[in-house]
């Protein structure tokens, strides 16, 4: 995004993920030429756009050393609420204008993020537990709100669907991908160029040292959870516009795991402190391309998850191996060389 060259220089492992993406794409295209048909590409990009947004969201939380498991359920909640609000089936008896409906869903999402952040920072609860409970609660709320019935737009709101998801720029790039790029640029600026972004990285690396430097670490972390839920809620609306309807019990199932997989593949360390938006987008793309590739290569539906899981694992292993090689290369200066260097053959025999 911003100075891509610098990003790659400072974060060489982005090359690995980018390389993997290119490799997978090339190999699949060679084996199954229809994979690179413009129509297929457009379709793949549409999915990358949707999932990329939630990967970016969860990346902010992961950078602080936290995690958000509730994204899928939040997507269900927002995906169920949007059509209901637009049709006047919930809260208000009149259909709500589009901006108001969007605004309300985003506001609720922000509130959920705030709730997570406060529990994590002020009460000191573990992010895993807080958001695991969220996973149950928001799924339940989505089912209650939608009365366990699929909520959809029917034939209405096609303008909105086109504008945000389906319309194609230059007859090729789907709007959801354009939206991802816009959000990605904003997120990259926030992460790399703003004071908040620097604080976020600092808190992720070493929260205590950040506090000792006068950074209000709690606020930084709460903001990260709010960004994550905001993007989750927003993506939920795009997802439902894409599918035209949301079934409360299944909509968005496992999406948090796709989001996390994308972020981690894209270079975010679950230990916190590390991550770049460009990498996260590549990571999300990798997961989606893998999923499509599996389909195009004729892997049976029942084996799909196995193959995808193995592929993601391979990506994580490649990334870790690369990190080690890189660390070894850098190890000279600090004198903290890794154990087990090449043993000296001469003169150490008894």
């Amino acid at each position: 995004m911003l100075s891509l060259k610098n990003t790659l220089k400072e974060n060489p492992k982005l090359l690995v993920i980018f390389g993997l993406l290119a490799l997978l794409f090339t190999v699949t295209s060679l084996l199954q030429p229809s994979f690179r048909d413009p129509a297929t590409l457009t379709n793949t990009m549409r999915w990358i756009g949707l999932y990329g947004i939630i990967s970016i969201g969860v990346a902010f939380v992961i950078i602080t050393g936290g995690i958000d498991l509730s994204i899928g359920s939040l997507i269900a909640l927002s995906g169920v609420m949007l059509p209901m609000l637009l049709k006047g089936d919930i809260f208000f008896s009149e259909p709500l204008p589009v901006p108001l409906a969007f605004g309300l869903v985003l506001l609720i999402s922000l509130g959920i993020g705030l709730f997570h952040g406060v529990l994590v920072t002020k009460l000191g609860l573990q992010p895993f537990l807080v958001t695991l409970c969220g996973l149950f609660i928001y799924r339940g709320l989505a089912r209650a709100a939608g009365n366990d019935q699929t909520q959809g737009f029917g034939g209405d709101f096609s303008g909105l669907k086109n504008a945000l998801v389906k319309e194609k720029l230059f007859d090729f790039i789907p709007m959801s991908f354009v939206v991802l790029i816009i959000i990605g640029v904003i997120a990259a600026v926030v992460l790399n160029k703003t004071v908040f972004g620097r604080y976020l990285l600092a808190v992720g690396h070493n929260e205590e040292a950040a506090k000792f430097s006068g950074i209000k670490t709690d606020r930084v972390k709460i903001a990260a959870y709010m960004i994550c839920s905001l993007l989750g809620g927003f993506a939920g609306m795009l997802f439902v516009l894409d599918t035209n309807g949301a079934t409360p019990s299944s909509f968005g199932n496992f999406y948090e795991l796709y989001a996390i997989a994308g972020a981690v593949l894209g270079g975010c360390s679950l230990r916190g402190g590390e991550g770049a938006i460009f990498g996260v987008i590549c990571g999300a793309a990798l997961v989606q391309v893998a999923e499509k590739a599996v389909f195009f290569l004729g892997v049976e539906e029942k084996s799909k998850f196995t193959v995808i899981g193995i592929f993601i694992l391979a990506g994580v292993i490649a990334d870790e191996l690369f990190r080690r090689v890189n660390e070894k290369r850098m190890a000279g200066g600090g004198g903290t060389g890794p154990p087990g260097d090449s043993p000296d053959p001469a003169g150490s025999e008894a």
Binding site: T194, G197, A209, G332, G335, D341, D344, A346
Partner: protein
């Protein structure tokens, strides 16, 4: 006391070289270690002390050179092999499982068993008790390590070494986090082990300790042998000149003119000592040392003043105006700066670049419309590198790559642009080499010369006496006394008296 030079040669390193990537950490270093002697290995940070020790303990593999035990050439591919040869190595950061008890730690990985897979609790307890008795430690084998002080943990490490029948005990800066009292106990034990014919090798930066206990000093410089001193030759000046390769100009304290009261603390109470109110003041231009044993409450005072911990009560005035400090941000606004005791956990963010650390405090100053101005930060980092003499080719380097002394300079550097009036320095030179130490003393001098007030907490009496205009001595949470520079009690003895609760 000194070891007989003819006593048995236990361990010998011959022309050891070690490279990490392109960096030569050791180049042809030789050293010999005999039964019944205490050898100190000294040198500036980066001189190769730890690397040499790790080569002998099987942590690192030398690229060239030989190691001999009892005159026989050996290879030491890993720590296990070293242990079999009777070489035990105690890391600076102790390696104990905090959730296990003492016995389980001592026999970790070598548990006596019964009925196949089950470990024999009774046997462990019995043998551990024997070791603890030998070390005159008043704890039971069932005590969880989590509940032990650092000093006791070190003893557990030593017990572990003894249980392995170690003949050579290598310790990397064993006293760096010990209180004076704990250091005494450790030294008594070291002397006892020496009597029993063990060879104890330790790395230290503290001259007084080395003068007291070492039979021989091996000095390294830039990865090479710089010289050796026998028992009678050991003195500060000779060690220092071997370490730095020149006579070090002794840091002369410039006695500052003290001005107005900058910080006034009245009845401050901290959570650890809720019933003990603390009162003192700092004047512009003075360095006030804060001495006391570890656990006397010095760090707690600094933390409360800086808003890390909530104080239970009391009044803090800066330049006569009462301030309410609930978060470090409030303290920074009031003109304070804190250099915390734990450089790696609290001071610097090791995985970030030097420039990003320098910019961490008050980054708002380097922004326009919320966007960080990197060029200004780079410029500021460059200035800091020059003025504080941070040794690095590039301020974009990670702080973790720097030596301890240079890391500490980065921690200091991040405060400088704010021009704080009150510096709280908690163990500002812990674990850093003499060269960097005097540079940090110079920085402190410069702070006071510019009219700041400095509170310097230090467990090294030598340092306290060297830099302070006045020393506040704490004992069990209270101020046991204050000694000014012209006071006859302004001496190690006088301060120790107060610190240990004497009159």
């Amino acid at each position: 006391m000194a070891a007989d030079p003819d006593s048995q040669l236990l361990l010998e390193a011959r022309a050891i070289s070690k490279r990490f990537g392109g960096v030569r950490a050791l180049e042809g270093v030789s050293a010999s270690f005999r039964a019944g002697e205490v050898v100190a290995v000294m040198g500036e940070n980066g001189a190769g002390k730890s690397t040499l020790m790790k080569c002998l303990a099987g942590v690192h593999q030398p690229n060239a050179g030989e190691v001999a035990v009892d005159g026989n050439l050996v290879s030491i591919p890993d720590v296990r092999a070293a242990e079999k040869l009777g070489i035990a190595f105690i890391h600076q950061e102790l390696n104990l499982a905090e959730n296990l008890n003492i016995g389980a730690n001592v026999f970790l990985g070598r548990e006596p068993r019964k009925f196949g897979p089950f470990f024999d609790r009774r046997e462990i307890r019995l043998r551990t008790q024997g070791l603890l008795d030998a070390l005159e430690l008043d704890v039971t084998p069932d005590t969880p390590v989590r509940n032990l002080s650092i000093g006791h943990r070190q003893m557990v490490e030593i017990a572990k070494a003894l249980s392995q029948k170690a003949r050579i005990l290598i310790m990397d800066e064993p006293t760096s986090s010990l209180s004076l009292h704990e250091t005494r106990i450790l030294f008594r034990l070291v002397k006892k082990l020496r009597e029993e014919g063990m060879c104890i090798v330790f790395i230290s930066h503290r001259m007084a300790e080395v003068e007291e206990i070492a039979d021989r000093v091996i000095v390294l410089k830039d990865g090479r042998n710089s010289g050796e001193l026998g028992r009678e030759e050991i003195n500060r000046d000779r060690i220092v000149s071997l370490m730095v390769g020149r006579e070090l100009v002794a840091h002369e304290k410039t006695v500052a003119k003290t001005g107005e009261v900058l910080l006034e603390v009245r009845g401050l109470r901290v959570a650890r000592f809720p019933d003990v109110p603390i009162s003192f003041e700092l004047r512009a231009g003075e360095v006030v040392g804060m001495a006391g044993l570890v656990g006397a409450g010095r760090t707690e005072v600094a933390r409360a003043l800086f808003g890390i911990d909530r104080s239970l009560g009391g009044e803090v005035r800066v330049k006569g105006e009462e301030v309410s400090i609930k978060h470090p941000r409030d303290a920074i606004r009031a003109g304070m700066a804190l250099v915390p005791e734990d450089r790696k956990a609290q001071g610097a963010i090791l995985n970030l670049a030097i420039r990003d650390n320098v910019a961490m405090v008050g980054m708002d100053r380097w922004q326009r419309a919320g966007l960080v101005r990197d060029r200004q930060i780079d410029q500021r980092a460059e200035e800091a590198r020059e003025s504080l003499r941070i040794r690095t080719p590039d301020t974009r380097q990670q702080v973790s790559m720097l030596s301890g002394g240079n890391q500490q300079k980065v921690v200091l550097a991040k405060w400088m642009p704010l021009r704080p009036r009150i510096f709280l320095l908690d163990e500002p030179t812990r674990g850093i080499d003499v060269g960097s130490k005097s540079e940090i003393y110079e920085v402190i001098d410069q702070m006071t010369a510019e009219g700041a007030a400095v509170l310097a907490i230090s467990s090294e009496l030598e340092e306290v006496l060297r830099i302070s205009d006045r020393v506040i001595v704490m004992h069990e949470g209270r101020i046991a006394g204050q000694v000014a520079r012209d006071d006859p009690h302004f001496s190690e003895e006088g301060i120790m008296q107060l610190a240990t609760g004497g009159e």
